[in-house]
Amino acid sequence: MTEIKNIHKSYGKKQVLAGVDFTVEPGEIVGILGANGSGKSTLLTILAGLQKCDAGFFNMEGKNLLKDTKLRNQLVAYLPQEMPLITELTAWDNLRMWYSADRLKRELDSGVLKLLGIDQFIKVPVHQMSGGMKKRLCLACAMNTSPKLMLLDEPTGSLDLVCKEKIYNYLERYKNEDGSVIIATHEVQEIELCDKCYILKDGRLVDCKYDGDIPHLIGRL
């Protein structure tokens, strides 16, 4: 189980996170909703180790991953909103930064890269790819350590429905293999994918039971 406890973060006098607590079970997808600037991305970057929090714990396998960075790099994958790809290179070259050549071939034949459909555009330069291809490639790069927890920051924003569907299918599969996911999102489809949802408001998480009533949800943000 992943346990996030009492995360605090302030920028100067502005408190962005004022004690965030929640848990994520294996095989569970947790959605974090909130208005722009509410602190969703800040929470994910803290969990990914990109910035430090003022206080709090992030426990997995009995260890505080805010301190054990080596273990965190193995267990946690983070996908930022923007594309962390080198656009001049092909999909193969980008993946080679994270996979050995042998493993890359194996994964393309029957592994995670096959599932994501990377094999169909492995030799295409990134600047010639569609948004969906790029996003799947980003996901493939993030999955190199076979992580147990994925942190996704608005993973399907601005993608078309077909691309979204491919990514959702992959997330479902990952979930069924006991993978945990935390998604910061605005997308209704992603909310529907989640087992649990929270709204981040005034630096704290509030339970959110989404029943398809969008106006009601908007009112709570």
């Binding site: 990914a48 180790g49 790099n73 930022p80 923007e82 962390p84």
Partner: protein
């Protein structure tokens, strides 16, 4: 594309230096003379230099009204050096004393010819004084014939001889050499070779930097989330960036070597030159890296970097010799990375080991890379 531009630039420079007009200018050394030559002894010396000395075949004397005019001619390489003949020197010559000296101004690049010039001037002094020796002896004989007291005559002649010997002994120090330099002692072709080469290499860093850094902050975030530290990220980008820049520098210097340009303008493009280029590339790469790391947005990166390069190059004497800039700008320019690079590469010509400059440049590189790491930590 870069190689093509380098070839075209090298070809243009080679053609410029190979012109007949340029060659004709190189046929004789021109020595400027500042000050009055009305004094009989000095006039004799000038006459000897122009007509009876071995140097007459390679030396041309050019008279200038004032020193500023001669200095301008030296900086534009119209003359190789100039000598200032002061009234005090003329008086000292008349009195056969060594109270005043000629001042010989030359660029460091003309050091070789300076030594020859000094020897020649000393030789001219000898040519003047040897007849004087005969005159003294003749004077002694006449005095004895005329019945002057023998003891008094010998005492007087002895004093005159002592003055003569004293002058002879010090004739090698008849002039002092002051190095002015068109720009830190380089001749005009050497100056333009060094400055254009450095400016070209500076601009080349702008062509490659976008491949390595700064375009996509998401990459840095992603790398950090994978446990790759800012230092590892910066070094991982800086080293290939430096490698590419060094390859370009090697291509350009290789072309200069192959075409014989280096030999033609008196720049030894050997191992020492290449090593210095590598240190300079480390500096330029670090500078470009830091600027691109600090600046946000591709337009800002290109425009601001270009403007800073132009300003730095100007202050460092890439477009005009630094010596003609205001004193304060000279002081600033010599400590800028571009100014240090100029002095360091120019040292190949002037024979300066450049050890101190190299240490400062390495400190700059550490600051640039360290600064880039600090900025990268924001991701």
């Amino acid at each position: 594309m870069i190689a093509l531009v380098a070839i075209l630039l090298s070809a243009a420079l080679f053609a410029l230096l190979n012109r007949d007009a340029y060659k004709s200018e190189q046929m004789r050394y021109k020595l400027g003379l500042v000050g009055s030559t009305d004094n009989e002894m000095i006039d004799l010396g000038v006459h000897l230099l122009e007509t009876e000395d071995d140097m007459q075949f390679v030396l041309e004397l050019v008279q200038y009204e004032d020193e500023a005019e001669a200095k301008a001619a030296l900086r534009s390489a119209d003359i190789s050096a100039y000598i200032v003949i002061t009234d005090e020197f003329a008086d000292a010559v008349d009195a056969m004393t060594n109270d005043a000296k000629l001042t010989y101004y030359a660029t460091s690049g003309q050091k070789g010819i300076s030594n020859v010039m000094m020897d020649e001037i000393a030789l001219v002094a000898t040519n003047i004084i040897v007849p004087s020796e005969k005159g003294i002896c003749t004077l002694r004989d006449i005095m004895l014939q005329e019945g002057y007291d023998k003891t008094d005559t010998y005492m007087a002649v002895y004093e005159i001889f002592m003055a003569y010997v004293n002058t002879m002994m010090l004739r090698g120090e008849i002039s002092t050499v002051t190095e002015l330099g068109i720009s830190n002692g380089l001749t005009t072709p050497q100056y333009y070779f060094v400055s254009l080469l450095l400016f070209f290499l500076l601009l080349v860093t702008m062509c490659f930097v976008s491949y390595f850094i700064g375009i996509n902050q998401a990459q840095h975030k992603f790398f950090s989330s994978k446990g790759i530290t800012p230092l590892q990220q910066v070094l991982g980008e800086y080293i290939p960036f430096l490698t590419v820049n060094i390859i370009v520098a090697l291509l350009v210097t290789g072309l200069a070597k192959l075409t014989g340009l280096g030999d033609f303008i008196g720049v030894d493009i050997g191992g020492g030159f290449v090593l210095r280029m590598a240190v300079i590339e480390a500096l330029f790469t670090g500078l470009a890296f830091l600027l691109y790391e600090i600046l946000e947005g591709i337009i800002n990166k290109v425009l601001v970097t270009f403007l800073l390069y132009i300003a730095g190059s100007y202050a460092s004497g890439y477009f005009y010799p630094r010596s003609i800039l205001p004193e304060i700008m000279q002081q600033v320019g010599q400590w800028l990375p571009t100014g240090l690079a100029f002095d360091y590469l120019g040292g190949v010509v002037t024979g300066d080991s450049g050890a101190f400059v190299m240490v400062i440049m390495i400190i700059y590189v550490v600051i640039f890379v360290g600064g880039s790491v600090l900025i990268r930590r924001r991701y």
